[in-house]
Symmetry: C2
Subunit: 195 residues, 2 copies
DNA sequence: ATTTCCCTAACGAACGTTTGTTTATTATAT
DNA sequence: ATATAATAAACAAACGTTCGTTAGGGAAAT
């Protein structure tokens, strides 16, 4: 099982790197650091990966794809704006909690990507935020949401969720669904027009 | 004016370092980097500062003090919980926007502090969060706020604000007061019991 | 008024260490 | 026998920091 061993090793490298990048940051994590945690020499890492940055790229774009895919699926459904927002937040939280270490790296370490990856990354993120903004604007047009600064509100909403990886523990008392419900409860009931 | 010149230079170093730490991160910013932006040699920095980490310590604990001071002042006043929360958020945003670069460093780079500074820092932050949590608990007891997970809500609230330094521009259309109002509007009207 | 002295801020050079990565070689497993 | 994965050794570059020195200005002493 040559390929299997190699894939496992590569996966192991990326997983351990994810942990270290989260705890110490990308720049403060050395390849010797990473290697010693795995139990091999730094030079041996290069049998499986091309460079340190390739690891970061893998982590960032894997997460970016996951987020995008989960949101695109929701856009297909025909839902009222508030339902759509609930679903979008729930999906976002689920993706995020599935690998909270990778999410933390995704949110904090992307700036160490070199061009053209940095440009691609930022454009994807912008795109993602715009989809949320559109949901809020639609909600306003439908008469479901108050008048507001949609971009500001989305940034506040996503920020409150995205900070989670720094304190979320899978063994904690709150499930991803409960977290999503808590967040949307606060935000939606503050946005929704009460009759 | 010996002392004045020296103070200005030291201040200049810390200000430029704050900018670079925000943009590139603490670990990815070298002393030669910093020096060249100022227009001197790296070695010359050490006529004014003791070490690279001392700069980070200065930034972090200056901000920590500012946040603490602004909150302690509010605790003295006799206010209803929702009013108190509004005031606390407003103070928080004002401190944060006064130097958003330093705030960004404060929120993202504290993990590079060494002991015992790291321990002190985390204990201060915990303390600060607990003051917010207490406001929410008081609000619940007063019958002003819904039943909720106070810690979770505070983390969500502070996170949505603390992410701001990454996009806040002083020349933007929103003033600190308007930002605070937007945030509290969303959160308070989502929390407050409607009669 | 001139000299001596001290202090600050800057410098170039170098310190020892660590960085990411490459190479040539050996061990392992199929 | 062949392909893969690990190694030790080495690389140039960069790291934070220290060194001895120098230039310049103000204070003190002559």
């Amino acid at each position: 099982m040559i390929t299997k061993t190699k894939l496992n090793r590569k996966q192991q490298i990326i997983e351990k790197a994810t942990q270290l990048f989260q705890k110490q940051g990308y720049a403060a994590t050395s390849m010797r650091d990473l290697a010693s945690y795995i139990g091999i020499e730094a030079a041996s890492l290069y049998s499986h990966i091309k460079s340190k940055e390739e690891i970061l790229q893998t982590i960032c774009f894997q997460m970016a794809n996951d987020f995008f895919q989960s949101l695109e699926q929701i856009e297909l459904e025909k839902l009222s704006a508030d339902e759509k927002l609930k679903r979008a937040v729930k999906s976002h939280v689920i993706v995020l909690t599935k690998d909270s270490a990778a999410s933390a790296v995704f949110f904090s370490e992307w700036r160490h990507l070199s061009e053209p990856y940095l440009k691609d990354f930022l454009s994807m993120r912008n795109n993602y935020e715009n989809k949320f903004i559109q949901i809020l604007i639609d909600g306003y047009k439908e008469g479901v949401f108050k008048k507001m600064d949609a971009k500001f509100t989305v940034l506040a909403l996503l920020s409150s969720i995205n900070w989670m990886p720094s304190w979320y523990k899978p063994e904690g008392k709150l499930s991803p669904e409960e977290i999503a419900k808590n967040v949307t409860d606060v935000f939606i009931n503050g946005l929704k027009i009460r009759s």
